[in-house]
């Protein structure tokens, strides 16, 4: 066989290669751009105000790091709670549980601030070599709502290049790519990289809204030991222990993990050290982000049912019980919901003056039984977007169509 040597490297092959490259570019560009537009959020009618992170840290204005901040205030004075989802955009239950709060919450006492897409940039791309689906669908009353599955890190199109080594704002040296990991960038830098500015913005929310308790919603892969867990800053140790016992009583097993003092830049460490608040981080198990997963389909995001994780469970390699039922998204969201409520209950026990009380949310068992979609607004058919600040009350559930917000990815 002669091989291809005879047609290597002439003008024709060069032109053909360029043409092929351009074609591939054209073919794929719409797929990548399809993740730039944020999925609509339909806040509950009891939303007090919708702000943007740039309202707390103006440098974020018109950047891909800017993101919605939903504030719910109750009639009675009380404490104030911050809930973040989407610090890691590939951890669907974190975002979805925060969304469930935004679309249902009615705060009776105190204040609740929810940031469902804490790292908005991370929602605009997928991690190379993970083969992740770009979207997954959730059945809601009257249709299916589609959501982006993002990546763990900030989009390199928005923050590039990575340094060789990254010194976190908290002073630890880690691998360079972690410069785009929001959960290594706390407490942030006001004039730092995009990710550090987002982290700074969240610390500004904590300071300006007078937050006393912060809960960061995550997921981890089933082969990872910190899972089904409540990770707590030492200021929240007592609360975490009380909450864990209550959850046990409900039939939900959670591990308690103290936030390691030498692991810097994480929300549960720096919100506590720099924000001065009680900080906790919750983990649920998510097969689609793990290294043992089979085909990473949109269904796997929702059902959490994977043949290789089943096999690994049989081999005793997982840190959670895992069977043919899988780890459905609704069950994972329900765990987050139950844990947040248990933490609020324990706050009331420990510090009654700082208590937060709410209604409007489904019971966690109902989320497991009916699916999380049953408690989301039917958003199909182009409902209202949550752009424009100010009062949004009454906007939920179908209203006037608004133009997409300019300047956002």
């Amino acid at each position: 066989m002669k091989g291809i040597g005879h047609w290597r490297g002439n003008r024709l092959t060069a032109a053909a290669s360029l043409l092929l490259g351009a074609m591939i570019g054209l073919l794929s560009v719409s797929a990548f751009r399809g993740m730039w537009e944020p999925d609509p959020v339909f806040p509950s009618p009891w939303l007090t105000r919708k702000a943007m992170l740039a309202d707390y840290h103006p440098a974020l204005k018109n950047t891909p790091g800017d993101t919605e901040v939903f504030v719910f205030e109750g009639g009675e004075p009380g404490g104030s709670l911050l809930v973040t989802g989407g610090v890691h955009a590939n951890e669907a239950a974190g975002f979805m549980a925060a969304l469930l709060l935004v679309e249902n919450l009615k705060v009776e006492k105190g204040k609740v601030v929810v940031i469902p897409r804490a790292n908005a940039s991370a929602f605009t791309h997928s991690e190379p070599q993970e083969g992740s689906p770009q979207r997954y669908g959730i059945e809601v009353p009257g249709g299916v709502r589609s959501f982006r599955l993002g990546a763990r890190l900030t989009n390199p199109v928005h923050q590039w290049p990575d340094p060789s080594l990254f010194r976190t704002p908290a002073g630890q040296i880690v691998a360079g790519a972690e410069a785009r990991n929001l959960n290594r960038c706390f407490p942030g830098r006001p004039r730092g990289s995009l990710t550090e500015q987002v982290a700074w913005g969240i610390l500004e929310v904590i300071r300006q809204e007078g937050i006393g308790l912060g809960i960061d919603l995550h997921e981890s892969s089933p082969e990872y030991p910190v899972i089904n867990a409540i990770v707590f800053h030492e200021k929240a140790a007592e609360m975490a222990a009380v909450a864990q016992m209550d959850l046990q009583f409900e039939g939900l097993d959670f591990r308690l993990e103290a936030s390691p003092r030498n692991l810097r830049g994480l929300s549960h460490r720096e919100w506590g050290d720099h924000g001065g608040i009680r900080a906790l981080l919750l983990e649920t198990p998510n097969p689609v982000q793990g290294r043992l997963k089979g085909r990473p389909t949109p269904e796997l995001v929702v059902t959490g049912r994977d043949p290789f994780y089943l096999k690994a469970a049989g081999l005793g390699r997982l840190f959670i019980p895992y069977d043919t039922a899988g780890a459905p998204l609704s069950w994972r969201v329900a765990r987050h919901l139950a844990a947040v409520e248990a933490i609020l209950a324990s706050l009331e026990e420990v510090e009654p003056d700082l208590a937060v009380a709410w209604s409007g949310l489904p019971e966690w068992r109902a989320v497991v039984e009916q699916g999380v979609g049953a408690f989301l607004r039917p958003g199909t058919g182009g409902g209202p977007r949550t752009d424009g600040g100010g009062g949004v009350a009454g906007q939920a559930g179908g209203g006037a169509r608004r133009p997409p917000q300019p300047g956002r990815p």
Binding site: P128, G131, P163, L263, F308
Partner: protein, 423 residues
């Protein structure tokens, strides 16, 4: 098709394209990725191919700029002058010369965590010296490749440990002593094993016959400025990370290249750049192909199948599976191997100290840079010594690599004892 079947189809397509069709390795990997998409029922998943292909984008820029830098150093006469200087200093003490060569190649690897950078920056300085003193081309290539691999594993920067640590939330702290324990013994043994017999000592009379032309007389210390600039900036990335912004390796190499243009013999910069791009292209294509290959392997479930199959080995075989899997997967990418296999392995050995297991596994995984088809350390070492077939160089790496592998496993197996002594 089932996951293993898709994987074997992809492997077959790669071998078919590379061995039978004589397509370049990079193109063969891309073709195998396309075949995998079709076999896995995904059609031609253009988005996944592009996404995967960009997986090593930053590394591509580093390699391209590093090759340019190497070409500039050659063209400016820096390499010849430096080789002459080293020869003059060390020609009577071959043990010292061998160990110094080893350390010289390891150094850039140790501070960047990349075997590629080690081979490309220090390889061209050391290789001509060794070859002039009688060490065969292939053995010289093997020595450079092994030094690069050990440099990659050596402290202060071991990216493989960082990747594994990142996957298990282990901070990159306290790794220096275990890494030294892992790296130093093979770094002493390998150069002596490879070179002690062949390397000849030369007396001063014959020295001038084998010395390359030194341009030191014409240009003086100016010659070494580009090298000092690059090494200085590379060290500052590590040691001044607190105080100065990181210019990034591509910029560092480009600055070094521009300085090299004006610090020695004059040459046509554009022509050298053209040569560098030409030399780099096959390697860049391999990395793009590897990215596509892994993405499709993951997309079709083949990656999960491989990881779970390795984890499913009986306990006695687990260490064997680790050694085999980490090195074999390194043939695709050693960083990928550390992330995809290394992290589950550290987790599987959770009862042991994570610092010791991850550092020992990193030594094993670093050997992946000698594993075809990518074999980055082997390919570049062959290029540095001017050997067209990198497989011939790799043959001489077999025994040294075996030493490294065994040493890594010994440390891994005795982790409990070591933990009591070291940590």
């Amino acid at each position: 098709m089932s996951e293993p079947l898709v994987f074997f189809t992809m492997a077959l397509a790669f071998v078919g394209a590379a061995a039978v069709g004589r397509l370049p390795i990079g193109i063969s990997l891309m073709a195998a990725a396309v075949v995998g998409g079709l076999a896995g029922g995904e059609g031609v998943p253009v988005r996944h191919l592009v996404e995967g292909g960009f997986g090593y984008f930053d590394l591509l820029l580093i390699i391209l700029s590093a090759i340019l830098f190497m070409k500039v150093l050659q063209a400016a006469g820096v390499l010849d002058s430096l080789a002459a200087g080293i020869l003059r200093a060390f020609h009577r003490r071959k043990t010292l010369l061998l160990l110094a060569s080893m350390a010289l190649v390891m150094f850039p690897g140790a501070i960047t965590g990349s075997s590629t950078v080690a081979v490309l920056t220090a390889g061209p300085l050391v290789a001509p010296v060794l070859m002039r003193l009688g060490l065969g081309t292939l053995k010289t290539g093997a020595l450079v490749a092994m030094a690069a691999v050990l440099g990659m594993a050596a402290p202060p920067i071991n990216i493989l440990v960082m990747i594994m640590g990142g996957g298990v939330d282990m901070p990159y702290v306290g790794v220096t002593v275990p890494l030294l324990l892992l790296v130093v013994p093979p770094a002493l043994a390998i150069p002596l094993w490879l070179g002690h017999r062949e390397l000849g000592a030369v007396d001063s009379e014959h020295l001038d016959d084998i010395l390359p032309k030194s341009w030191f007389g014409e240009y003086g210390w100016r010659l070494f400025l580009p090298l000092l600039l690059v090494l200085g900036l590379m060290a500052s990335q590590r040691f001044l990370v607190r105080f100065m912004p990181d210019p990034g390796l591509p910029v560092i190499f480009l600055l070094g290249s521009l300085l090299g243009w004006r610090s020695g013999r004059s040459f046509d910069f554009l022509e050298v750049t053209r040569q560098a791009v030409k030399d780099a292209m096959p390697i860049l294509a391999i990395l793009v192909g590897v990215g596509m290959f892994i993405q499709i392997l993951t997309l079709t479930g083949g990656r999960g199948w491989i990881v779970v199959s390795l984890l499913g080995m009986p306990k006695a075989l687990l260490y064997f599976a680790m050694a085999l899997g980490l090195v074999a997967f390194g043939g695709v990418s050693s960083f990928g191997s550390a992330s995809i296999l290394g992290v589950p392995f550290v987790l599987a050995l959770m009862e042991k100290n994570a610092i010791l297991t991850s550092t020992a596994l990193s030594l094993v995984a670093s050997l992946g840079d000698l594993m075809p088809p990518t074999a980055l350390a082997g390919i570049f070492a062959a290029q540095v010594v001017g050997e067209p077939s990198y497989l011939k160089v790799l043959r001489y790496c077999l025994v040294p690599a075996g030493m490294v592998l065994v040493w890594g496993l010994v440390v891994l197996l005795s982790a409990e004892t070591l933990e009591r002594i070291l940590l």
